[in-house]
Symmetry: none
Subunit: 220 residues, 4 copies
Amino acid sequence: MTAYLAANIIQPMIEHSVKAEKTRRPTWRDEKAEERRLQLIDTALEVFARKGFDKTSVRELAAAAGVAQGLMYHYFKSKDKLLEAVVERHSFLPQLKSLLATLHNEPAAKVLKAVGRQFYDLLGQKESLMNIFFHETQSHPIVPRIWRGIMNEGISLFQNYLDERVKAGELRTHNTDVTARTLAYTIVLLRAGGVAFHQRTRPEAFIDQMVDNILSGIAA
Amino acid sequence: MTAYLAANIIQPMIEHSVKAEKTRRPTWRDEKAEERRLQLIDTALEVFARKGFDKTSVRELAAAAGVAQGLMYHYFKSKDKLLEAVVERHSFLPQLKSLLATLHNEPAAKVLKAVGRQFYDLLGQKESLMNIFFHETQSHPIVPRIWRGIMNEGISLFQNYLDERVKAGELRTHNTDVTARTLAYTIVLLRAGGVAFHQRTRPEAFIDQMVDNILSGIAA
Amino acid sequence: MTAYLAANIIQPMIEHSVKAEKTRRPTWRDEKAEERRLQLIDTALEVFARKGFDKTSVRELAAAAGVAQGLMYHYFKSKDKLLEAVVERHSFLPQLKSLLATLHNEPAAKVLKAVGRQFYDLLGQKESLMNIFFHETQSHPIVPRIWRGIMNEGISLFQNYLDERVKAGELRTHNTDVTARTLAYTIVLLRAGGVAFHQRTRPEAFIDQMVDNILSGIAA
Amino acid sequence: MTAYLAANIIQPMIEHSVKAEKTRRPTWRDEKAEERRLQLIDTALEVFARKGFDKTSVRELAAAAGVAQGLMYHYFKSKDKLLEAVVERHSFLPQLKSLLATLHNEPAAKVLKAVGRQFYDLLGQKESLMNIFFHETQSHPIVPRIWRGIMNEGISLFQNYLDERVKAGELRTHNTDVTARTLAYTIVLLRAGGVAFHQRTRPEAFIDQMVDNILSGIAA
DNA sequence: GATGAATGAGAATTCATTCAT
DNA sequence: CATGAATGAATTCTCATTCAT
């Protein structure tokens, strides 16, 4: 029995998502559970974005999802882990990648504006997540980690594209990292600060003109 | 800056302590009290920036300042009001204004890089405040209000300068709002994201090249 | 012991499972169920002894036994009832009785030491149960009831033996209750406190010398 | 300010009992606070003894003491620390020592019974504490530590006395550790088990006869 | 001004127990 | 038999705030 105990007590915390028992096709119950899990995550995303992580109690989250508070802890070990699940699930890295995958061998003058707008739109769709990225960075290391992952990957892909255009002779030889970041950072703050700052230029027009500026320069 | 202080710091102090008998020379006691008040604000700035507002208890703030918790409530009506005092006192609008005041009639090619770097440095000096701007925006309306005030004013002044240079014929006619924001936003995220994103270019060089790009364009 | 088991273990099992159709030969399923029931009890004994009743959750018990929590409630109406089942099943009264049954008409000088050591060993084998006796007495009346039953019965039998030896002229006329309890109590605490107190004398030697002292006295 | 912060933040937890500020004579407020502290401890002793540590909520403790729950945490860092404070404060080691200090050079035949009874009485006065010793040993290491300290010290002193009597020629040469423990352990269980076991002999008489047995032996 | 004792609401988390599958 | 999702009450602990001294 000692061996038995050892095997079962040492790691009594049951991972409920990844079933330990070999690989087994998910039963109806498992599917329901996974559905519920996602529902809880999605609800949490909205509430966290709206009220902020610290200002949201687990009781509220449960109420928003229409379940008992205790159930939250059936699905997530802690409120912190729930936040992690939220940012992991809603990371828009895939969308960003596919957005940037279409670029190859297209002339910059033609696509930069389109890509800028699409990026701006993507951030708009992910407003709740952006909110979390901006506000909950400090206490939860996973939040900046995900955010960093997205930005670094996106900028890297974007830079590759710019390098191609340099090779193709469309752009002059220059530090494409700077260009990529200038465009990306500006669009991010355009979105995040959009509510905050009195922007006089509509975002789409802003992006177009920014691209023009960077392509042709503003010197007389 | 003196006017600023007078309007925002002195007045709330008087309000709670000696009930301002018209205008009266500050006594020794008043000065001591003001000193203590500022000490509490400065300590709070650091602790809030490091731990976040919600994660910081009044007890901790008091301990960090070396006073009893109760004393906090002599100087600030509530923890929220303390945060307001912090962002009000440390708003760097004055510094930003004076930074931009030197620009008039200077050629853009010469000064844009310098101004960009100075702005970047200023943000660096105000790192704690930036932290608060980014993280505590949601629950405390005064935070984004101040932040907005700084950005809008700064961009407006910067834009005025750019318009001058257009008039002077140094820059071509264009939407200077876009240029101002492109530079400002990028530098802000360069600072805020500096730790987060793997930036391959050193900030000073980055700013120089960004200015070059925007002035001359990157098209071949 | 069989009678004991029949009375205490078999019956509650039947009660909850197959609703005892008179007396009926146990089927294979009944046997499996009984096996499982005993496994749950035995696991619970270990875990309760190690962690304490209150500090052990049903979830942990289930995990330790390798079953789902819900199953616990098929076999035991509540966590409290499980504890009762544990102390009932592991009561070592039968062993104690058989240990004391061998004494009759044996000379005290010869057997007291042996009996003392055997009692000490028995307590050692039942360490987990002893733990429960000592720690969970308060909240669960059945615990002290069982413990009392064992002690009272044991001491009574032991006293009978001593009375015999008095009658046989081997021991002087005296209050044998006192003697029986002195030996029994001391051995119990020797065991229970063994870990706690810095005992300078090894238990076996201790028991021998204690018996010598009581038989012959320590007066010069 | 950095030094300031370092000095005050690193150890923000204020020890409230031992004032850090030099040594300063206790003010009226300090005295009130200490009184309150003791009141909370004493209340806790009773309630813990009656209901058991785990079954007692901090809410109940506060109610029993007539204060707000939050105040408990002003005086004790946690419920566990409160228990530690309880056993530390009520350790009866001093009383036990003074009880045993009177023994020197007194003849054993005369004093053993008296000391036995006094020890029994002392345990009776400390019934609540004994309860805690017996029931809360497992989860709170300080409990057995204190209990061990008392027992070891007491037995050691008692043994010294017995050794003296051996040297004085009143007792025969023998392992006095065994004698000391036999008497002590039996009295402890006499007290602790008193309620539990059907003792047929009144405690005082029991102690007298036990001492007689050990001094003179029970052999015919 | 300054202290820290005192309050009570509310937070995260645990847990025995039930029950549909 | 067996599972584990679901419940909701209870628990420990934190914290902003007040106030007598």
